[in-house]
């Protein structure tokens, strides 16, 4: 059984200007110990999914339909106190805005200890502190930083501290939303490498969220490609990179310098991003797609296994698969 399973999830934000369809009929499964990458351009709904899983959406967000199963329970049915036990104990998160996810009034060490003691109230604060020191060693931060306040950390240090924080309660799943945006390339590779080895060692699952296909190729075992709130392609990283089935995925790959055969061939996907206040009725990508036909305009394509499929896992939502 999958550890996490999203079934038919649709999510809307009711804003002053209208209703945003941020996630549309999305289904996705993740096994224990697996790493999944969610890729997509800015505004495609990646963070919205992460927040929906942890039930952190604002009051004006509405989940119109769908279920989020985690370890057999539908998280959407849990009460708030039940949800508090799932949070961090079972599902932890590295936030996209790592800069601002720490309380400026307390030392970082105190915040990690606070988190551990919340979920393991019987632990002595001494033991908790020892655990925090281990975590800091794990992410390569000196323990002296524990007594420092968040504003005394550099961006990269904060990001590492946030990763240590995510590991604090030994969760089964970590959602890492752009975990390395504040870092230079070398540091990014190092942190991701560390996170991956921790994942394998502990048998955790990780969902990586990024718009960076190249980074995903390094870490994710499977990749889900999002476009305008829709999962347009899903598959094993190797298959997906070798033979993208959806025109959008192909476009994304062509836009990555290291993946295009030749830098001169580097292409941008033409057209404007979708207006999520009034998304197209059919395929959301059709206005920018070179292969679009009348059918694309009217009918939304379902996510179906591709023809050239090896294991039946590679799926794409397109009427005209590549």
């Amino acid at each position: 059984m999958a550890l996490l399973e999203l079934q038919d999830l649709s999510l809307h934000y009711h804003t002053g200007r209208g209703v945003i369809s941020a996630v549309n009929q999305l289904s996705l499964a993740l096994d224990a110990g697996e790493s999944l990458g969610l890729v997509g351009e800015s505004g495609s709904g990646k963070s919205s999914i992460a927040h929906a899983i942890l039930r952190l959406l604002p009051a004006y967000a509405q989940i119109r339909q769908g279920r989020i199963y985690f370890a057999g329970r539908n998280l959407l049915d849990l009460t708030e106190p039940q949800m508090r036990e799932v949070r961090w104990r079972q599902i932890a998160m590295v936030f996209q805005a790592a800069m601002n996810t720490l309380n400026p009034m307390y030392t970082v060490g105190a915040q990690v200890v606070e988190t551990i003691l919340t979920h393991e109230p019987n632990m002595s604060s001494k033991a908790a502190r020892a655990r925090v020191e281990e975590l800091y060693a794990l992410v390569g931060l000196p323990c002296t930083l524990l007594r420092r306040y968040p504003h005394e950390y550099s961006g990269g240090m904060k990001q590492r501290a946030c990763i240590a924080l995510a590991l604090a309660c030994n969760p089964q799943l970590i959602i890492a939303d752009e975990p390395t945006t504040a870092l230079d390339v070398i540091m990014q590779a190092r942190i991701l490498g560390e996170l991956e080895s921790i994942r394998k060692e502990r048998g955790m699952s990780v969902i990586y969220i990024s718009h960076d296909m190249a980074m995903m190729a390094q870490v994710a075992e499977r990749i889900g490609v999002m476009y305008a709130g829709v999962l347009v392609e899903y598959g094993c990283t190797i298959d997906l990179l070798a033979a993208p089935a959806h025109p959008y995925t192909a476009g994304l790959l062509a836009a990555v310098p290291s993946m295009a055969d030749d830098v001169t061939q580097l292409q941008e996907i033409p057209g404007e991003p979708v207006d999520l206040y009034a998304p197209p009725a059919g395929c959301r990508f059709y206005p920018r797609c070179s292969r679009a036909t009348a059918q694309c305009k009217e009918q939304a394509p379902p996510l179906l296994p591709c023809r050239r499929n090896r294991d039946g896992e590679h799926k794409a939502a397109c009427w005209h698969l590549l």
Binding site: L54, L56, M83, R84, E85, V86, R87, W88, R89, A92, M93, F95, A97, M99, N100, T101, L102, N103, P104, M105, Y106, E114, T115, T118, H119, S125, Y149, H151, L165
Partner: protein
């Protein structure tokens, strides 16, 4: 820290000089001097008035008076009151200032405490009925015409119900054969309050330092407070001062209540706004994601980060509490510094008016420094800016 304090002190001295000069000349610019109250008295001949003016140096040029005045202040001599001649100004201020201070200081502390607490909950339950009631109430309090509220309180509690005195500082009949003056007894009350507060702070600090956890230690500060109050009562009882102490406190009650009540509104709204602003911060979302308890998020995340503007505002109003409110003190016939200032200014008693102005001005400026230091101490990001 020391350098910062020195810098601020210098700033205060400069401001104080400007302030004193302005005060002096504004008062000088007012028509007449204290001898003009005798002008309509047919028994006072112009020669006698001129004589008086000469005696107080009022016939010399303004500049000569000003320089002499500055010199006196620097040497700590605020002069002698005209209207209560020959009482020294400092003596009068020493008597009146504590009355004002105790009233306004307590009112500020209590109202900010309640306002902060209510504001926190109001923001937490934003949009619900309780929040709406609190916000509407606060706005009514802020916009209410204060003298009217005070009159209504006097009418209800003192006149109609007869629970409280139609105010004043003390009951003169009771005090006619008191062993000590009201000023002395009041001094003892302040002394007891200061000792109790210091004790409480000390105990809380000790508890925090020892890291004594949760439920049990929660009862220690209240117990200490109870014991301190009991021993104060016992001490006053033994010295036979208890009824006089109670008389003063009894007279303090109504103005304290009204002032506190009327000020809750602004601190509540201030806190609520600050907390709501913090609610938008990423670290609050992150705290929820970590599964922290609602009480922890409310206190350690929301309220703690919202405290900055509230403490600034509190420190400023504490500084102001030395100048008191002319309105309050008039309404409740509370013989504090505000009433003194009003009477002195109207009666042409320059030494007293200027002395009162200067003293209250000093405290106002100190309040500003206290506000800066308090906020800096409370915020680790600012702590470095004043040095550790």
């Amino acid at each position: 820290m020391l350098r910062y304090l020195g810098h601020r002190l210098l700033q205060i001295l400069v401001l104080l000089f400007v302030f004193i000069t302005l005060t002096y000349f504004i008062l000088q610019a007012m028509p007449g001097d204290f001898t003009s109250i005798y002008a309509s008295n047919p028994q006072m001949t112009p020669e006698m008035i001129a004589n008086l003016q000469a005696r107080f140096g009022l016939n010399e040029s303004v500049w000569v008076q000003y320089v002499r005045f500055l010199r006196n202040i620097v040497t700590g001599d605020l002069g002698v009151s005209f209207s209560e001649y020959p009482r020294p100004v400092w003596d009068i201020i020493k008597e009146r200032l504590p009355r004002t201070f105790v009233l306004f200081f307590s009112a500020n502390i209590i109202s900010f405490y309640i306002g902060f607490w209510l504001g926190k909950w109001s923001a937490w339950y934003k949009g619900r009925a309780a929040d709406k009631v609190l916000v509407t109430g606060s706005i009514s309090l802020i916009t209410a015409f204060y003298p009217l509220v005070a009159f209504m309180a006097l009418w209800v509690f003192s006149y109609h119900l007869g629970w409280l005195p139609l105010n004043n500082f003390v009951d003169p009949i009771l005090w006619s054969n008191a062993p000590l003056s009201s000023m002395q007894v009041f001094g003892y009350i302040i002394y007891a309050a200061v000792v109790t507060t210091a004790l409480l702070i000390l105990v809380s600090l000790l508890l925090r330092k020892k890291g004594v956890a949760g439920a049990k230690s929660r009862w220690i500060p209240p117990i200490v407070l109870g014991l301190a109050l009991l021993s104060a009562v016992a001490l006053f009882q033994r010295s036979g001062l208890l009824i006089y102490v109670f008389d003063i406190l009894y007279h303090l009650l109504l103005p304290l209540f009204v002032l506190t009540f009327i000020r809750i509104g602004s601190s509540l709204l201030l806190t609520r706004d600050a907390v709501l602003a913090v609610t938008q911060e990423d670290y609050v979302l992150a705290a929820r994601a970590r599964g922290l308890a609602p009480a922890v998020i409310r206190n350690r995340y929301l309220a703690r980060n919202a405290i900055h503007p509230v403490v600034t505002s509190l420190a400023l109003s504490l500084g102001e509490s030395f100048s008191g409110g002319v309105v309050t003190e008039t309404l409740f016939s509370w013989p504090g510094i505000g009433l003194t200032l009003l009477r002195a200014s109207l009666g042409g008693d320059y030494p007293l008016a200027v002395g009162a102005f200067i003293i209250t001005g000093i405290f106002l400026l100190l309040g500003h420094v206290a506000a800066d230091i308090a906020t800096a101490c409370l915020d680790p990001r600012l702590r470095d800016s004043i040095g550790r």
